[in-house]
Symmetry: C2
């Protein structure tokens, strides 16, 4: 957490964190470990696993040591679950905060279970506040207290304060280490201040200018400071208009602000407008990625879709979704059951019936995905909702009519029955309109009710297209053909 410079000359320990991809001459070249996609090579992973199995701890260490912490974290995902503990022991002094911060949640949980409160406290102290919070918030209450008791008072205070904000808010995400200076300073004053004060953070991208009440009045990008002469007042170099993040803002909303205004860092303020911390873009990037990616998983009912989740949890969450879908499938087939007499008279209906419901489902899925993404990215606003609905109506009409005619022509070719073809085209058009409207209105309605449309829409929408699809087709058939 508190990254304090120890050496005035910034020689080595503090400043350049051991990092990245350039080859290290003392060991095997980079390309033996990572492939062209920057993933760990399976041959390399195999070698680590073999060394682990053979109990050659030194060999494991030599292999892993040149890796970047993010790659060490990947290595834990790549080896089998039952090898992870042995690996963490073999490389225990490489297992710093940076590695733990990068570990997949499920993998980390497994490893943290084996650590003492003291070990966890040591790790947390190495980490940035937001990563330390992520580590500690998953522990149960007793363990949390034990870990906090082991921490330095200052670090503990930061964690306790972060934990006092709701999960997934700016308060949990922010770092409390900000450079905040008064309005009266000049560029030269600031540089002297930064050089002198040994307790300041070393990693920051912007300096915040605050008034006497500690309210932010401006932000200064470091490049502006470096390019300005010493005598210039900071108030002349700072940007006065800034995006201030309230400490209780939802992290998804924070991510959208960073994206919209291309921010690198932003000041976090409490209810009274006082500067309490900052959020930097690197903490936001993985939120953007997760929030965007989870829609694909949620729409498919795949839960959080993490391939490292314990098997029984995955089975349970997916089974639950399939169970609900089984209910809706039975509902839809009860419509078919109501028309058993009709089908008995013309078995061909059973052949065509799945096409009508299936095409409706496909059309609805398209519309639903577009609506869910537009809602998630703030593209769909009260100003354009009506336009979006009309748009989907036209698309549904065009596609229903086009594909309905095509399908009717195919039927006519095979069954030579004009009435049947008429039923097909009518059912396709009706179900296409049903699909288009369900696909847009159901997510919109759920969003209005503050229910995540990505998670719940699919069930409702497919129920509509299956049930009504069967009803339109078999109902029209029994009215017009029998």
């Amino acid at each position: 957490m508190s990254e304090k410079p120890r050496d005035p000359a910034f020689a080595d320990a503090d400043c350049p964190p051991a990092d990245l991809t350039v080859a290290d001459e003392t060991c095997s070249p980079q390309s033996e470990r990572l492939d062209e996609d920057n993933q760990l090579r399976s041959g390399f992973v195999r070698r680590v696993q073999d060394a682990l199995e053979a109990g050659e701890v030194d060999q494991v260490y030599t292999l892993v040591e040149p890796l970047h912490p993010a790659d060490i974290a990947d290595l834990f995902e790549a080896v089998d679950a039952d090898e992870r503990l042995a690996l963490s022991r073999a490389i225990s002094d490489l297992m710093g905060g940076e590695v733990f911060a990068e570990l997949n949640d499920h993998v980390r949980e497994g490893l943290v279970d084996e650590l003492s409160a003291e070990d966890i406290a040591d790790l947390a102290e190495e980490m940035e506040t937001d990563d330390a919070v992520a580590l500690i918030e998953d522990l149960d209450e007793d363990e949390q207290q034990a870990v906090l008791a082991e921490m330095e008072p200052e670090d503990r205070a930061a964690i306790v304060s972060a934990l006092s904000y709701p999960e997934e808010t700016a308060g949990r995400l922010m770092s409390r280490e900000v450079i905040a200076v008064g309005e009266h300073m000049s560029v030269g004053d600031l540089i002297d201040f930064l050089r002198d004060d040994r307790e300041l953070a070393t990693e920051f991208w912007e300096v915040f200018i605050v008034d006497a009440r500690h309210h932010p009045v401006g932000t200064c990008q470091l490049s502006w400071i470096l390019r300005a002469p010493r005598h210039v007042p900071l108030t002349d170099v700072m940007k006065r208009d800034q995006t201030l993040i309230p400490v209780t803002m939802d992290q998804e909303e924070v991510a959208l602000r960073f994206q919209k205004y291309a921010l690198i860092s932003a000041a976090v303020v409490d209810e009274s407008g006082r500067l309490v911390g900052q959020i930097t873009v690197d903490d936001v990037v993985h939120i953007i990625q997760e929030e965007a990616g989870e829609d694909a998983l949620a729409l498919s009912g795949a839960g959080d879709g993490d391939i490292n989740e314990p098997l029984h949890m995955t089975i349970r969450s997916r089974m639950w979704w399939l169970f609900i879908n089984l209910g809706t499938a039975i509902l839809a087939s009860s419509v078919v059951a109501a028309f058993e007499q009709t089908i008995a008279k013309l078995v061909t209906l059973a052949v065509i019936m799945p096409i009508i419901s299936g095409m409706g489902g496909n059309a609805a899925t398209q519309t639903m995905a577009v609506t869910v993404r537009a809602l998630a990215t703030n593209q769909l606003t009260s100003s354009n909702t009506w336009r979006m609905i009309m748009r989907e109506w036209w698309i549904a009409s065009a596609n229903g009519l086009g594909l309905g005619m095509l399908m009717a022509a195919t039927c006519q070719l095979i069954y030579h029955d004009w009435w049947l073809s008429l039923v097909v085209v009518l059912a396709m058009v009706l179900n296409s309109l049903n699909a288009g409207l369900s696909g847009v209105l159901i997510p919109l309605g759920l969003d209005k009710l503050k229910i995540d449309p990505a998670v719940v829409s699919t069930v409702f929408v497919t129920t509509m297209t299956d049930t009504l699809g069967f009803f339109f087709f078999l109902g029209l058939a029994s009215a017009l053909l029998m």
Copy 2:
């Protein structure tokens, strides 16, 4: 593009770009324009539209003027397509590079069509290289030449060079304005250099240290420079290991690197390893968001799912997807047709049949979404592919058996036919296994063939679950029940 400081005191024009959310006293408060989600209020949009209709150009200008460029861009999306040209004319001197850079592609295309080559050239010169390239790359060849001819030689050279790299690579994304200095400099030398040289960029986050051949040897975060005394050599403050981005790297890969290593900026190098530009995280954030979000759209066959796309283009792309799906639906129903005799003898089969295929489809969709996301985020590597397949096999077995038994019990309750219930459970288990394996193997196979699994998987997977689902159920029924 080239943002050159004009005033040594950095007074106002240059440095603090007109920005962000703090209220402006000279006009209506912020909250009248943006709601709590930071979206334009529909009332505000309505007022702009009314003023446009009434031809009150000054009123439009007064309303729009306090908006951030990103919000002006949103405003163009919010008003109707036929009002956009009038809006752009009413606020023509607010329509700077920043607004155009933020505009939705489809909206921008509509506006750019109305501009002269000279206007476009002026806009491009205000923009950062990557945004200017995005503006110009969409023009047709003649227009591109006309625009380039109007540009300043230096800016033109940057664009021409960027356009020489393939689309969606680092070369198109990078900015050529980097601060690169020699290894011999001290911190003080660097600060003097930055203060003196008026042609340098003002927006940068890291300084690159290069050797005599212009190869990057280290990176220096500005905060380290500001915290170090003047006499310290740069080589003592710089980070030696860096993530170098080859100029031809795909932008998705660039985004993954930024995420994995939490980068703020990174040096871009050509084939010979020379520093040619830099990429900053704000240019990468929207790629991360798009790449992650587009999987949800691609899996659903919704194309690029942009709600601003012209209607006929959306209809065409969605129709095309539905047309392919109609083909697979007809294929699946031909299996049903092959068993018409069987269904004629027991119409109940037609009632249960959609449940079997539908449940398979749902299970496959879950697996497929997880696989596609794991591939997209580099989580699925050669080291864990086999584990993933086995994992899905177990999930499919457990869910198939669990839900199959449940479904069989339901059937037994309704139809009192042990043999029918047996057919149901067998068909459910078989189709669940089919779904699990198709859901993981088809995306993996497509990925191996360098075909985007998000776009193509769904068609293949649903064909498998529908066709084989019908085949398992009706085949078993005709074998065991007839």
